[in-house]
Amino acid sequence: MIQVLWTDALIFLLVAAITGFALYARSREHLRAPWRQVIRKPLGMSALVILLVYVLVGLLDSLHFRPELEQQNGGNTEVQYAASIESVLDLMLDDLRSSTEKTYSAPFALRQYNKETIEDEQGNKRREYPRLLHAGTHLQDLSMHAQDITQRFLFTLMGGLMVWGLSVAFIVVLVVFKTGDPLQKVLHTMWHGQRDLPWRSLFATLGFILLVILFLMNTASVYHVLGTDKVGEDVLYQAIKSIRTGLVIGTLTTLIMLPFAVLLGIMAGYIKGWVDDVIQYIYTTLNSIPGVLLIAAAVLMMLVYMETHPDLFGTGVERSDFRLLFLCMILGVTSWTGLCRLLRAETLKLSELEYVQAAEALGVGRLKIILRHILPNVMHIILIAIVMDFSGLVLAEAVLSYLNIGVDPTMYSWGNMINSSRLELAREPIVWWAFMAAFIFMFLLVLSANLFADAVRDAFDPRLRERA
């Protein structure tokens, strides 16, 4: 049974909106041009590709359903669904999800991280590191461990290079056919970065992603590549599941606050007068409350609401989903003011321009002027704000979770991972892998987002464009 969570619905709304915009922009050169400029930048291109991988994972994790239960009593009752909600990603990672150990184990380890008292058949008690249940079970001889990992690594490397080489060749051939340039020239220009697209970085990024994915596919089924956590859950699984949380915070917050910011900002700048005063008053007031305190108070309030209406939030997943959505809203409330102010200033400037004044003189309706003349001309500001905010929001999630006012503690998120890894770092011997996993996954996403945001800003900001 398909289950659509609140955030799922919003995510697909967002996807639909983006697709719609892409279709609309396809035929309009002035809209396409800046985007082409974005992907022409080598770093922008690489960042985009990595972001797309993250988005793909996030989307797969947003397709939720309830698995069907086996029939009971000879199958004469109605079909029952499990109460637990799973996603398509869970199905794909079923191997990782189900291979839980008892407690901590290091990356690629065969044995548990802690000693335990084990009783053998004769009843003798020994203290030793117990064997893991789901790591290296295919090994007949445990001394082959290192060799097995090296083999798998080399195998991945070779296989990956082969697949990569083939796909590169395929693309090159495609380009040759499409452009009609001779092969040698295509190769030469690609290598020296003289073509319209930064093929070099595209291929390099693809190769990197391909290698990582192949390596994980090859090893994650037989080892815990990033170790296991306190209750023996695979850390890689947690890190991957956290991707959706990060993306949701980064995108939905903006999606939710966007209508307010745009509407109020443009209204203030265009209508002016008392409307402007009221809107300015609202955002100055909200802005002057320290953000963290506002968020803390609001999150406490949300928890009260969830307490008093338990029936609205059935299972654990739905509860934490609502909390996530609410967090997005709160973050939205605290972050819309910046964009609103920018839009107001820009609209003020635009409304003084001759063609707007002319339109007004001709008696064109206000709404029409806003839609026709103002909105299109502030689109670049909105777009830049969206991409610039994204990475900041992903980072904010971690900090808020650290303060216990972030996402639900049962939810997979990098913030929660970092929070619990603080205790692990103080252990003796130290447990570092969850910290590292959260670091790598988060860093890669934020870095790509930052680089992509830079490329977008360079392409869309008219001030920068003129200088370039």
């Binding site: 008053y281 320290p290 963290v292 305190l293 309030m301 971690a398 216990n404 603080r422 910290f435």
Partner: protein, 325 residues
């Protein structure tokens, strides 16, 4: 000028009223006084009587906004809203929910916050300007490109990683400074070093990149070209003309944050056990001490508004062309 400042101050009043209303609504809807009482009285043997007593002692036994039982002005004044919220306007913070004088606590805890915040600000300013100038000097070269990329990399790392990693490495592994804590007087130095270094390091990426754009903007201006055309060396131009002018946006950007330095850094302070206002606020959030949180929200808003006014004033000081409107 004075008239301008007064006008700005008057404009701040409705904003503070708005802040006050928002916090009042948030805090008294979230937790009715009964629950505050239960939290503060401890877990065992709490009777309704004790709760009522607690409320009476702290003045939470009044109605929220309108007291229909009181007479005359008391209808409005003998309420939680008047007593607990409006009093903030005269900086009468009252007692915290566990009975301590908030103003006294603030006056005590403000110094450790400043002891961290001021050195952090100065060191960060010097370091970031140095790096930004370096990048601006080498603009367009590989040093610049890789420097900017390094900045982006640095700012893509969550502040939590800096804190956790720094404390772990410097305090635990290298034994260079105490892991956490604070002391008064000069003894405080050894406790301050690590938070300051980590605080500066976590901000280096973003600030350097940001300042670099100021420098580049100045470098592109005509008078710089003229100076260069006069045959002044690159360093002279950079220090004498570019730095001076780029400092204007940098410093005015800092002015707005100056008053907020009092508030301290929430996470950094609780992480390193600095008894400043930041950890005061965090503790209050965790213990749900609403009196303190209300006071800090109000104080924070006041300081922010003061910062805004100071910024405007500093603009007019550095650039008389800005109209006082």
């Amino acid at each position: 000028m004075i008239a301008y400042i007064i006008r700005r101050l008057l404009y701040a009043i409705p904003i503070l009223i708005g802040v006050n209303l928002i916090t009042f609504a948030l805090f008294f809807i979230v937790n009715p006084p009964d629950q505050m009482a239960r939290l503060h009285l401890g877990e065992r043997h709490v009777t309704q009587q004790a709760i009522d007593k607690w409320k009476t002692q702290r003045g939470y036994d009044r109605p929220l906004v309108i007291n229909s039982e009181a007479s005359g002005l008391g209808v409005v004044t003998d309420t939680i809203f008047f007593e607990k919220s409006l009093r903030l306007f005269v900086f009468d913070f009252g007692a915290s929910d566990n009975g301590r004088d908030i103003s006294y606590d603030i006056s005590q805890r403000m110094w450790p916050s400043l002891a961290i915040a001021i050195p952090s600000l100065i060191v960060a300013l010097v370091v970031n300007i140095f790096f930004a100038m370096l990048l601006a000097f080498f603009r367009g070269s590989y040093i610049d490109i890789w420097g900017v990329i390094l900045c982006v990399v640095l700012m893509s790392i969550s502040a939590l990683f800096y804190y956790i990693g720094g404390q772990f490495l410097v305090g635990k592994l290298l034994h260079l400074v105490p892991i956490s804590g604070y002391d008064t007087g000069l003894d405080a130095t050894k406790f301050i070093i690590l938070p300051v270094v980590i605080g500066v390091a976590s901000g280096i990426g973003a600030s350097t990149r940001w300042y670099r754009t100021f420098f580049l903007e100045e470098i592109a201006k005509d008078f710089v070209r003229t100076a260069r055309a006069k045959g002044l060396s690159e360093t002279t131009v950079l220090f004498r003309h570019v730095l001076k002018n780029a400092m204007i946006p940098i410093l005015t950007g800092i002015v707005v944050a100056l008053p907020l330095l009092f508030m301290g850094s929430l996470i950094l302070e609780s992480f390193f056990g600095i008894p400043g206002l930041g950890s005061y606020t965090i503790d209050a959030i965790n213990q749900q001490d609403f009196a303190i949180v209300r006071a800090m929200v109000f104080l924070g808003s006041v300081l922010y508004i003061v910062g805004l006014i100071l910024t405007d004033i500093s603009y007019t000081l550095v650039d008389p062309r800005v109209r006082l409107s």
